[in-house]
């Protein structure tokens, strides 16, 4: 399996750059700047230094012993929830904020769904002295009030987006519209492995620290047979899979099943979508007969997205990764289960990966299974509490 992309930004058939011409020079500049930075030892060591002294990397891998015992196989959790700000998102925002600084762009914009990427961007900008504006759907602002306030505390401006369903898709569109007018002094820190080239590639490179750490932490007796991660845009999963693609490891990406496949209320673009263009990239998306993008649905704001990273689209077609889904209800149940058995409250996004492992447990007996626990669940506590009423 190649890990691409090629010169035109394609992973197999997928990816590319379907962006307004106004942005194309900035995308070329970003590609050149990232390529140079990624080959620059000073940039790499500055980033590594920040990741260890500020973000708290490496994050631990934890053997979930009570759950392992009840499931009948060894389960390991890659604790991205313990990274600063509570999710893997900061791996990417630290890298891109450093890059923005290197490119001489004083203003940063970002989109956010659950708010984790917005908080991680606001954090990196506060640390590096960059102006920060975060676009967030109105519906997400409502269900993630805590993260909105965190962004305010960190000095970021949060702009509500009312178009469409007021969720992640609409926030990405609005951020891109801002960028079309501000591109000369602004960098867009996209939060996942989506968007036009070089974003899917660059974000993967910033996130592959997840898989690289897992590889050395689990090396030896705990070598995983199966690596499981949730897939919205797909950055924590790609970050883990990138390391394991050439190994004899089964890779499983878990999409948001929402109310269930076939209900039209889910975020399973790889399973129920079809190829097309969304947010600058050729990939799988949920769309209607007219090529209009459909609204996704997921209880988890971070998976509530009708597209997916183009590299995942390539792995889907090649059969290199197994993509499956779990429903809202299964994810909620898994959140409760992990909280009670291991004392870890996972983000609703990450609970999807846990739910898949619990549901598929009979087929996993005797295997070493590693889950990327991409974020912590504090942000979801009020939402879960409301469901319990």
């Amino acid at each position: 399996m190649t890990t691409g992309p090629d010169e035109s930004g394609r992973f197999g058939a997928y990816g590319g750059r379907y962006a307004p011409e106004t942005l194309m020079p900035a995308l070329e500049q970003l590609e050149a700047a990232f390529t140079a930075a990624w080959n620059d030892r000073d940039f790499r060591s500055e980033l590594s230094e920040l990741l260890s002294t500020y973000v708290g990397r490496p994050t631990p891998v934890f053997h979930a012993r009570r759950l392992s015992e009840s499931l009948g196989f060894d389960l390991w959790l890659k604790r991205e929830d313990l990274a600063h700000t509570g999710a893997h998102k900061i791996n990417n925002t630290m890298g891109q904020a450093l890059l923005a600084k290197r490119m001489g762009k004083p203003r940063v914009i970002a989109e956010t769904g659950a708010g984790q990427h917005g908080v991680a961007t606001a954090t990196a900008c506060a640390l590096l002295g960059l102006d920060c504006v975060v676009y967030m759907g109105e519906k997400d602002i409502e269900r993630q009030a805590l993260n909105v306030y965190r962004m305010h505390l960190l000095g970021a401006e949060v702009i509500p987006v009312s178009s469409g369903a007021g969720t992640l898709k609409d926030a990405v569109s609005e951020a891109m519209r801002d960028w079309v007018g501000s591109v000369e002094d602004t960098h867009y820190i996209i939060g996942s492995v989506v968007g036009p080239h070089p974003f899917p590639w660059m974000v993967r490179e910033f996130q592959r620290v997840i898989g690289d750490e897992m590889h050395s932490q689990l090396h030896g007796a705990a070598e995983p047979d199966v690596v499981v991660a949730c897939v919205g845009g797909g950055s924590n999963s790609i970050g883990a899979f990138a390391t394991y693609l050439d190994d004899d490891v089964e890779l499983v990406g878990v999409e948001a099943g929402g109310y269930g496949l076939g209900t039209g209320k889910h975020g399973a673009s790889l399973i129920e979508g079809s190829p097309g263009v969304i947010h600058g990239s050729f990939t799988y998306l949920l769309q209607d007969d007219e090529g209009q993008v459909l609204e996704a649905h997921s209880i988890s704001a971070g998976l509530d997205y009708p597209g997916v990273g183009p590299e995942h689209a390539a792995y889907r077609d090649a059969g290199a990764v197994r993509y499956d889904s779990v429903t809202d209800d299964e994810a909620i149940e898994a959140l409760h289960l992990l909280s009670r058995t291991e004392g870890i409250i996972p983000a609703l996004e990450s609970a999807h990966a846990v739910a898949w492992v619990v549901r598929e447990a009979p087929s996993l007996i005797g295997k070493n299974v590693a889950i990327v626990l991409s974020g912590r669940g504090d942000k979801d506590v009020m939402q879960i509490a409301a469901l319990d009423d």
Binding site: G16, E21, M24, V277, G291
Partner: protein, 272 residues
């Protein structure tokens, strides 16, 4: 109609060049509020001096459009507008006005329809050309080939940020015209012109003789007149779409658009 769409488009640019003026190309989203009203609005603008039209096929996630055209797209889609119905509007407008119609949309609706099928059906509907707002030259080859095979024209974009290297690549791809983005930003009305168009048009002309059509942020008669001095065509969108959205009925909209287009045309002829 014996001429192909591409030929009619070429003739339009040859005509305005020989008359030392720029074509006035008003934009409206198809289907605000319905097919019949759309057709009568374009007819009113033809009577007021429009040289051709840009008809927007609504797309719900328009990355290049500001709030006015985005709202028009949402309303048109809610009213049941489809690609096929937009073709019907293009067909009726072409037949009744005799003026070239450019179809504007985004990549995904065209790709989903199939580029070749889309170009063929657009040609059958009498369309003269195609504009895809999120399609840069790197990804344009299949669409350029499809429109060429169907005998209709196609635009490529150049923006104030576009480098000279990119302008050369855009000209080399041989589009029917270059859509010169006159303002850094998405579509929408602005009080002041940006002043970015002159430099961009000069850089395009230094490379190629391709017709230049200016759009984005051109809304007042004064801005249109100033753009006309730099380009072979001028697109006015949001200012007209706003009038169509604000009007309570198709008739009121047609009257408002007739008067707005007549003012634009007069200013372009006066030069200020």
């Amino acid at each position: 109609m014996t001429d192909t769409g591409a030929e009619r488009l070429r003739r339009l640019f040859a005509t305005v060049r020989s008359e030392h003026r720029a074509a006035l190309l008003p934009f409206l989203t198809a289907g605000i509020p319905d097919i019949d009203s759309s057709v009568s609005m374009f007819e009113a603008m033809a009577a007021a001096g429009a040289d051709g039209f840009e008809i927007g096929i609504p797309y719900a996630d328009p990355l290049m459009d500001g709030p006015v055209i985005a709202e028009a797209a949402e309303r048109a889609l809610a009213g049941g507008m489809t690609v096929a119905r937009a073709f019907e509007i293009a067909d009726r407008v072409t037949t009744s006005t005799g003026k070239p119609v450019l179809l504007m949309t985004y990549t995904n609706p065209v790709m989903h329809y199939g580029a070749a099928e889309f170009a063929a059906d657009a040609a059958a509907a009498g369309a003269a050309g195609l504009i895809i707002a999120d399609l840069p030259v790197e990804e344009a080859a299949p669409f350029l080939a499809a429109t060429r095979d169907a005998g209709i024209g196609m635009a490529l974009f150049a923006a104030p940020t576009t480098t000279d290297t990119r302008i050369a690549a855009i000209a080399d791809a041989d589009p029917s015209f270059v859509y010169a983005v006159a303002t850094l930003g998405v579509t929408g009305e602005r009080a002041e012109g940006s002043g970015a168009l002159a430099g961009l048009a000069d850089r395009i002309r230094a490379t190629s003789d391709v017709p230049i059509v200016a759009g984005v942020g051109i809304s007042t008669p004064g801005q249109a007149a100033s753009a006309a001095a730099q380009a072979d065509g001028v697109i006015v969108g949001s200012a007209l779409v706003r009038r169509a959205l604000e009007a309570g009925s198709g008739d009121v909209a047609a009257d408002a658009l007739r008067s707005a287009v007549s003012d634009l045309r007069a200013a372009m002829e006066r030069g200020t």
